[in-house]
Amino acid sequence: MTRNDWQDSRGNKDRSITRPGGSTMEQGSAPADRVETTNAFLVGDSMTGGYGQGPDILHDCTIAVDPGEIAVIVGPNGAGKSTGMKAVFGMLNLRKGSVRLDGEDITALSPQDRVVRGMGFVPQTSNIFTSMTVEENLEMGAFIRRDDFRQTMEQIYDLFPILRDKRRQPAGELSGGQRQQVAVGRALMTKPKVLMLDEPTAGVSPIVMDELFDRIIEVARTGIPILMVEQNARQALEIADRGYVLVQGRNAHTGTGEELLADPEVRRSFLGG
């Protein structure tokens, strides 16, 4: 990976923005079980691509999710999980493969257009507008909506009651778990047809993690398919209908959450024994 020359972070006290680095983890040995994806609601099908002119990070990687389902992606650091999510969301150029939503090929659409088509995304980090109030954060979630979104907002307050109390507070003043709730709420404001979450529980306390998983299940119960990346793999796979293990940008293992949890190979290599 060549460094971007325009990004030299010289300058007093400029925060150095560190990005997750490349991976050197050994690749999973088990062959990828092919999954039936052609008819799934959201599919990133055989995606190959990387950042800018850099090397490919994803190699023929397939991720799919159906309505009412929770699909979880796990894998070592730098495996390309976040990259895969971004690829599905159109934030990097695919060299091969396609992305389909509800049967329609959306590979060529820009992220904004995907938002319009009903995709919601909560990135791994900095996923709220810290200087804006909770309510404004939710409003921004509804940015593309032209109709009256007040009702949706009420629904979100019902789902995350704490946010109703803090609606006038700048989101930057909230605790980690509360922030994650704002982030999910923001994504839900678009009334998404599918919700994508990148490590929603990273760094949150166990109680908040449980709560978030609870809420995610609640959202899924309303019929919205959820695609998420998790490092707390064991808990995540427990609630997952589908699980994908990615290694070096490739599908290493695929199955239901229980299957993956039961697979000794997966346990040893990716779930910490």
Partner: protein
């Protein structure tokens, strides 16, 4: 080793650390847990000199170190790692290690011009030491890679490695596990345990992963709302009602409902 007495740190009206009092015994590995926003990182930052305390004292081996800047604490053997990895991204991993020791004569400008022989000798020794540390961490193959280009977990290993370049007395680790693959986390846990046993480092570890805490620490402190809520062995903590209510929770409630819905 470290004693924190009635420590306060306020931001405006907000009391992030509010009367924390605790003791870290030498040679132990202490786990520090607590809800988000409990003030753990702030406590670390105050002890490590990044923030000045509003009131209260921190002593290390009997000596008052409250308010000392980080670089002075470093020379007293107090080191810390960061919640988000802070590697020197444009330098190689080896250089990241070699830069650490603070007594290098080559850091004085005068010597760079008139003491070049001595510097060359020191550098050789330093390089050997860095390679040793890389080997300990099983990342020798990354020695000449720019630290900005290694994976997140490897960066955390590198951070740990930096503490091994000097004779540290106490090391503070802030959420080494967040976002790190569990298998890699096991490697890190091994490294911590080995450092503790082989070099007698004292550790204080913030972590939300109870398995990890359980694996490494002899003693656990739970903070909430800026002060210490409970302390003891992990088993004691896990049984503590207050801790369960504020932090651990009782597990998922909705799980069965989901199964029902998708069935």
């Amino acid at each position: 080793m470290i004693e924190v007495t009635d420590l306060h740190r306020h931001f405006g009206g907000f009391r992030a650390v509010d009367g924390a009092t605790l003791r870290i015994e030498p040679g132990t590995i202490t786990g520090l847990i607590g809800p988000n926003g409990a003030g753990k990182t702030t406590l670390f930052n105050v002890i490590a000199g990044v923030l000045k305390p509003t009131s209260g004292t921190v002593t290390m081996a009997g000596e008052d170190i409250s308010g000392l800047p980080p670089h002075e604490l470093f020379h007293k053997g107090l080191l810390r790692t960061f919640q988000i990895a802070h590697e020197f991204s444009s330098m190689t991993c080896r250089e990241n290690l070699m830069v650490v020791p603070g007594d290098q004569s080559g850091e004085g400008l005068w010597n760079t011009w008139f003491g070049r022989k001595r510097i060359a000798d020191e550098e050789r020794a330093l390089r050997a030491k860095a390679d040793e540390v890389l080997e300990f961490l099983t990342i020798t193959h990354l020695a000449d890679q720019r630290a900005g280009q290694i994976s997140g977990g490897q960066k955390k290993l590198l951070e740990l490695g930096r503490t091994m370049m000097v004779e540290a007395k106490i090391v503070f680790l802030d959420e080494v596990g967040a976002g790190v693959n569990r298998t890699l986390l096991n490697t890190i846990a091994d490294a911590i345990l080995r450092l503790n046993q082989e070099r007698n480092y004292t550790f204080v570890v913030i972590e939300h992963d109870m398995d990890f805490i359980g694996r490494i620490s002899d003693h656990v402190i739970c903070m909430a709302e800026g002060h210490v809520l409970a302390e003891g062995s992990l088993a004691e903590i896990k049984a503590n009602e207050q801790v369960i209510e504020a932090y651990l929770g009782t597990g998922l409630k909705n799980k069965d409902q989901l199964a029902g819905a998708s069935a």
